[in-house]
Amino acid sequence: MHIPDGFIDGKTAVVTGVLSAAGLGLALRRIKRELPARRVPLLGLAAAFLFAAQMVNFPVAGGTSGHLVGGVLVAALLGPSAAVVVVTAVLIVQCFLFADGGIMALGANIFNMGIVDGVGGYMIYRLVSAALPGSRGRVTAVAFAGWCATVLAAISCAGQLAWSGTVSWSAAFPAMAGVHMLIGIGEGLISALVYVAIQRTRPELIPENNLPAQPRRRGELIGYGLLAAVGIALFVAPFACSWPDGLEAVAAKLGFEHRAAGPVWPAPAANYHVPGMHWAVGATALAGVLGSLVVCGLAWLLGRFLVREQKSKFPPA
């Protein structure tokens, strides 16, 4: 999802740059205030870890493979502000050392992968783990947040590309969202498996196990939430207004889109269109909610499966 230079026009680059700079400033201030000096090197090492972890390939069907993206995992392990800094460091190194992701698109990439993926994922993680207590709930939360955050970041990326006039929204949205609904399943699964592995070997590294050290994050999350809301209002909302046109265009090209994007999420609400509903925005929203509920259920089953197995091997701590 690294946007290269040339795909983002001037205005989008400036706006995403300002939003990311604000988010990064907020994150750095929070860290300076509450992170003990002992943990400062951990930020750099976590960034190096993320980079190295992205090189471990997980085999998927047919000779292809996927890898962890890890924004949500890092946020769950180190907190949202640390995740923003870590992901930014990774993106800057990838940009200047490996020419992966553009310099002018750096703001957009930090916004999508640091703020939307990392912090957005963290909020979902906290919400779900508040609803489902215990370590089983946290594994469920990591898996579900990993999926949601991947899809959200992809939608934000599609919005930026469409706002820049590089692709049309009606083509970019279903393609990006559809492909990343599949990629997100892998991301959620890997994140949950890694989380369980860390929990099993070094439970003290999971912040929730160090009671009562969990800092209250309300002010911090409100700040990021505002940034994300402004971003979504700018990148996604304008297209949602002219939505019926877009959806009709997609419907007309439905056959092509399926071939272009591979199998879109194979829910009964294929390609976001619930049969019998003609109000397009409602249908899209309903399909999105249904898909999320299905994935949430799957994540819950995964959490049950992974954590029960763990309990049979070790006595509960």
Partner: protein, 203 residues
């Protein structure tokens, strides 16, 4: 390590390598901004940039094949957007422009990153007032990328030589254990680094 160092052609010397990093970065930034902002109809600029880049590439004595390979590896995004736009006949013209622009920008960044040591880029970032905490993080990351990538590969090799189990489910779980262990080792290493930093007077 092959796939990591394969990205990176270094340890050579040329007039381009010897230029101050701040000059190279400013010129590159200027070239990228103008390239992105100008409409594609403005052919003179794009021809001028292509000539400038070709001259720099020649002067830098980086093998042309290496540069072309890098561009090819990094262009899946261009192909992906081409695929999306292929079903939108009205957007095809835009795509050509975007492809030209992003290839030129990509080539610029590849040239800069392969002729400038990363520590010098960091010094420039410090000069333009990037916050110190971020610089520390990036510097530490750059120092330990290669160490941790190497460690990941060693653990992965050890895993591969010890597991004779077929079946994808099991493989994913062991791979996830490798990644989790990598995080555990990274955080242990961070503790040791902190002690070492304190011992050397870091504040």
């Amino acid at each position: 390590m092959e796939n990591l160092f394969g990205h990176y052609h270094s340890h050579s010397d040329s007039p381009v390598h010897r230029l101050p990093a701040i000059v190279k970065l400013s010129v590159a930034l200027l070239v990228i901004i103008v390239t992105v902002v100008l409409p594609i109809e403005d052919k003179n600029w794009f021809i001028a940039v292509s000539i400038l880049l070709a001259l720099t590439a020649l002067l830098s004595r980086i093998p042309i094949l290496f540069l072309l390979k890098r561009i090819f590896v990094l262009s899946p995004f261009i192909l992906g957007v081409a695929l999306i736009n292929a079903f939108q006949p009205s957007m095809r013209g835009t795509w050509m422009g975007v492809a030209v622009k992003s290839s030129l920008c990509l080539f610029t960044v590849i040239l800069v990153s392969n002729t400038t040591p990363f520590s010098k880029i960091l010094r420039v970032l410090k000069l333009v007032r990037v916050p110190a905490l971020l610089i520390t993080t990036i510097a530490l990351m750059h120092r330990y990328i290669f160490v941790l990538a190497d460690e990941a590969e060693r653990m992965n090799r050890a895993r591969a030589s010890r597991t004779f189990v077929r079946g994808r489910r099991f493989q994913w779980r062991t791979l996830a254990t490798v990644v989790g262990q990598l995080f555990v080792r990274a955080s242990e290493r961070a503790e040791r680094i902190y002690d070492a930093m304190c011992a050397r007077g870091w504040k």
